[in-house]
């Protein structure tokens, strides 16, 4: 009898596993298909510059997406990331432009500005986690508070004004390059390097560390996790804090690229892009199963779809429609894999 019971599910789940495999490879497959299509039909696609453009544009999304993946892995969501980017983007120039207090040494000022900006965003993220764990508020609502108020805080800090600057010491984070080879290769953009480091570290943490295991256990079955001694509240607060930190870094990258900080614009709609990347990447939106590399691939797919359409003369507005369809299709497929 128990024989039947142990073998039955195995046979049944083989189908699901097969579907899951198709799912996994379908994301990667889609990326490859997009690349092949572009190589064949999009002019200058193989040029270094094209790669550069695409990677640069995707970097901020992936940086935020890493934090978002962890949050979603616990079964939560963070809508406040865009606003936290705005806060980080607003506070940094205030400091390094010496608006509040004077720091003579410019490198010191930049360092202080970066650290304060990122930590502030992290603190707000921690606040999200505190709301969610202390008052048991649904994440979507708890983070809605800062989604609304956060951008307001950034606007109040800057009085809604644009803060233009030209400061290589700071803009290095958005415009700098590593490993440049004269005349051959302009080098790896710093923000892409940051993105790669974050992806590698986060993927490793999720797979191999105690913290990662706890995140997945909470997302998979929060009550079971608590009864097994997982410090649920603590882990969640950290996860939202990390999401805030990631948003803070992304905020710095974005203002560095723009050479200005506009609290009305920085990070606008970022929550959507990040969630879309996570969803397309194959992370379970209900939590418990997550893939950081998936998020990277997801972001690349979304970016490439848009790029492909733009490069082939399709208006940006239509590309938005395509992106919407892509998100729905990805999440729907995910649901099929589990049914």
């Amino acid at each position: 009898m128990s024989q039947v019971q142990t073998q039955g599910p195995t046979a049944a789940t083989r189908r699901i596993d097969a579907l899951a495999a198709v799912m996994r490879y379908s994301t990667l497959g889609a990326l490859v298909a997009l690349l092949i299509f572009n190589v064949l039909f999009t002019r200058h696609f193989l040029a270094m510059q094209t790669l550069d453009v695409n990677l640069t544009q995707v970097a901020a999304i992936v940086i935020v997406g890493v934090g978002m993946t962890l949050v979603i892995a616990t079964g939560g969501i963070d809508l406040s990331v865009g606003s936290l980017m705005a806060i980080s983007g607003a506070i940094a120039p205030i400091i390094f432009l010496n608006k509040v207090f004077n720091i003579g040494e410019i490198h010191l000022a930049v360092a202080v500005a970066m650290i304060v900006a990122v930590l502030l965003a992290g603190a707000f993220g921690w606040f999200n986690g505190w709301l969610i764990t202390r008052f048991r508020i649904q994440p979507i609502i708890a983070t809605l508070v800062l989604f609304i108020a956060g951008r307001g805080i950034a606007q109040v800090m800057t009085n809604g004004n644009l803060q233009p600057f030209k400061l290589d010491a700071f803009q290095w984070i958005g415009l700098g390059r590593l490993f440049a080879i004269t005349d051959v290769y302009r080098g790896l953009p710093i923000q892409v390097a940051i993105m790669i480091v974050l992806v590698v570290v986060a993927a490793w943490v999720l797979k191999r560390s105690l913290f990662g295991r706890q995140i997945l256990a909470i997302g998979g079955n929060e009550r079971a996790a608590r009864l097994s001694g997982v410090p649920v509240a603590q882990v969640k607060r950290w996860v939202y804090c990390i999401s805030g930190l990631c948003a803070g870094v992304a905020g710095l990258v974005v203002i560095a690229i723009n050479s200005s900080s506009d609290a009305n614009q920085v990070g606008l709609g970022m929550e959507l892009d990040a969630i879309a990347a996570v969803a397309v990447g194959g992370t379970l939106l209900s939590g418990g199963r997550a893939t950081i590399t998936g998020t990277l691939i997801g972001a690349l797919i979304i970016q490439l779809v848009r790029y492909t359409m733009l490069a082939n003369g399709v208006p940006d507005d239509v590309a938005k429609l395509a992106k919407a369809a892509l998100i729905v299709a990805a999440v729907w497929l995910q649901g099929q894999g589990r049914a």
């Binding site: 009898m1 128990s2 019971q5 142990t6 039955g8 599910p9 195995t10 046979a11 049944a12 789940t13 189908r15 699901i16 191999r208 560390s209 105690l210 913290f211 295991r213 706890q214 997945l216 256990a217 997302g219 998979g220 079955n221 009550r223 079971a224 996790a225 608590r226 009864l227 097994s228 001694g229 997982v230 410090p231 379970l284 418990g288 199963r289």
Partner: protein, 519 residues
């Protein structure tokens, strides 16, 4: 009872023939049949997983069937949804109360067949209708209040009132008495008899055999997705019922129902002492102790506070008053993690909701509580994990394709073994097992029982909660009886006879116990 019960000449109200259903290749029902005559109360019984609920869900249109034929009221019948079934005269009362807590009693009873006036809802008439229906159950309450204001038994009665109010021809009751007390059960039985007199048929699912003899005319027994026997209630003995459910011969059943066997002695010092624990509405004054090498059992009716007490010991719910000591030292666990660090393990009664993490592998589930110890500087030591996991898979005989198989793919019994291993791997001082054999098949059940015995023999202190009286009686070295949140009696293994424990559970009301066992 009336003569109409089994007379084959009356054409049946419901006839399900050779119905089959499989979920992802696993058969849940194979060629099952059920026939219900008009005005008949038919019992449907079987072990967990025998296919009762699948049968009911197919009948009520909650899921579709793969094969088979259903005739209702003389015509082929296929419910497309529970709503469709209801419109055709089949109402269902589910085991879990399926109502909407925030809404008023009236709404919970009348939603789906509202009274209207000028096209709008006529609240006056609806309140009146709800009051009238509840009056049949001798219940008088403010029907405007939200349902969540009332206790579980009242909510269950509201659910029953709702089902009956639908002018049903057939009412299906899936364990309707699990949250009712004796008085309420008696009222329910009155209502069932009244329904019967009105010509309404009832399919009655219950695990409480005495109840079947009290109200049912016929019984259909299911096992492994098949209907193995249908008989008149009057002509079948209790033992035979159990034997058919389990698929064993009568002599075997009569001898022993559990696999604990004999094991006495080698009981050591006290490990856990609980003194006058109290918290919330469920636990008022519970005291007990567990010793090394001992299985201490909690007996009690549903709602006696057994699980709630266990959760207090484990820090899963906050303790309001009382004292706990472990190995002589006072402990105050405020979170499970603190209890775990002190050396207590707790396996919840609800495996799916509070036990397994379905998306995770067997290995990850097994080491969930142990993980902090498996990690160095926050990094999980894979080799160490693997060694531990393989050891326990072998020791407990977990049937799985390997440590990396997802736990959701395992059978209930094997999942339970993994959860046991989760705690054993920690080498706890005290292991609390809440319904360790609930919802698993007979074979796995015996394995788990003998495993618990073995663990105690090796010196572990075990606190076991079970709703199956014989499991508590045969397995425990000492039995603590809880009633309405208080510990009312303590028995040694020898003293713990069925009648003594049951008397304590029912507050010494010997009449009631006698009546129950006489029928």
């Amino acid at each position: 009872m009336t003569a109409s019960a089994t007379s084959p000449s009356v054409s049946p109200l419901l006839s399900m023939r050779s119905v089959s259903k499989a979920f992802g290749g696993i058969p849940a029902l194979s060629e099952a049949s059920l026939e219900v005559a008009p005005g008949e109360v038919q019992a449907l019984i079987g072990q967990n997983g025998a296919g009762k609920s699948t049968m009911i869900k197919i009948l009520t249109g909650y899921i579709g069937r793969d094969k088979g034929e259903i005739l209702f009221d003389g015509a082929p019948f296929e419910a497309r949804s529970p709503q469709d079934a209801q419109n055709n005269g089949i109402s269902t009362i589910y085991q879990e109360i399926n109502l909407v807590p925030f809404r008023s009693v009236t709404e919970n009873i009348c939603l789906g067949r509202e009274s209207r006036r000028y096209g709008l809802l006529d609240w006056q008439a609806m309140h009146e209708q709800a009051r009238k229906l509840l009056a049949r159950f001798k219940i008088d309450l403010d029907v405007r209040k939200p349902l969540l204001r009332f206790n579980t038994a009242t909510q269950q009665m509201v659910a029953i009132a709702r089902a009956i109010g639908f002018k049903a021809k057939l009412v299906i009751m899936d364990e309707p008495t699990s949250s009712l007390d004796e008085r309420e059960v008696a009222v329910l039985f009155d209502v069932i008899r009244q329904l019967k007199a009105e010509g309404v048929s009832v399919v009655f699912v219950s695990h409480k055999l005495d109840e079947l003899y009290a109200v049912c005319d016929r019984v259909t027994i299911m096992r492994d997705g098949r209907t193995v026997k249908t008989a008149d209630m009057a002509s079948i003995g209790k033992l035979e019922l159990v034997a058919s459910m389990l698929g064993r011969d009568i002599a075997q059943v009569a001898k022993s129902a559990t696999a604990f066997g004999d094991r006495r002695g080698r009981i050591g010092d006290v490990v856990l002492t609980a003194n006058s624990l109290a918290a919330g509405h469920k636990v008022h004054d519970v005291s007990f102790s567990v010793r090394r090498g001992e299985i201490a059992g909690f007996a009690g009716l549903l709602g006696a506070g057994r699980t709630e007490t266990a959760r207090l010991v484990f820090g899963a719910d906050p303790l309001q008053s009382g004292a706990l000591s472990l190995d002589g030292a006072a402990i105050h666990p405020r979170e499970p993690i603190e209890a775990i660090k002190a050396g207590i393990g707790f396996s919840s009664e609800d495996r799916k909701l509070e036990g397994i993490v379905p998306e995770m592998s067997v290995a990850e589930n097994l080491t969930l509580a142990l993980m902090p110890q498996l990690a160095r500087a926050g990094i999980v030591d894979d080799a160490k994990q693997r060694a531990i996991v393989e050891k326990f898979i072998q020791r407990l005989g977990v049937k799985c394709s390997g440590p990396d198989q997802k736990i959701r793919e395992l059978s209930g019994g094997n999942q339970q073994k993994v959860l046991l291993a989760r705690w054993l791997a920690m080498n706890p001082k005290l292991l609390i097992l809440d319904e360790p054999t609930r919802g698993i098949d007979v074979g796995a059940k015996a394995e788990i029982q003998s495993l618990i015995k073995e663990l105690a023999d090796q010196g572990l202190a075990v606190l076991m909660i079970s709703s199956e009286l014989e499991e508590v009686l045969e397995g425990s070295d000492r039995v603590f009886v809880l009633r309405e949140g208080r510990s009312v009696a303590e028995f040694s293994h020898a003293e713990a006879t069925e009648s003594a424990v049951m008397t304590a559970m029912a507050h010494g009301d010997s009449d009631l116990v006698a009546e129950g066992s006489a029928s």
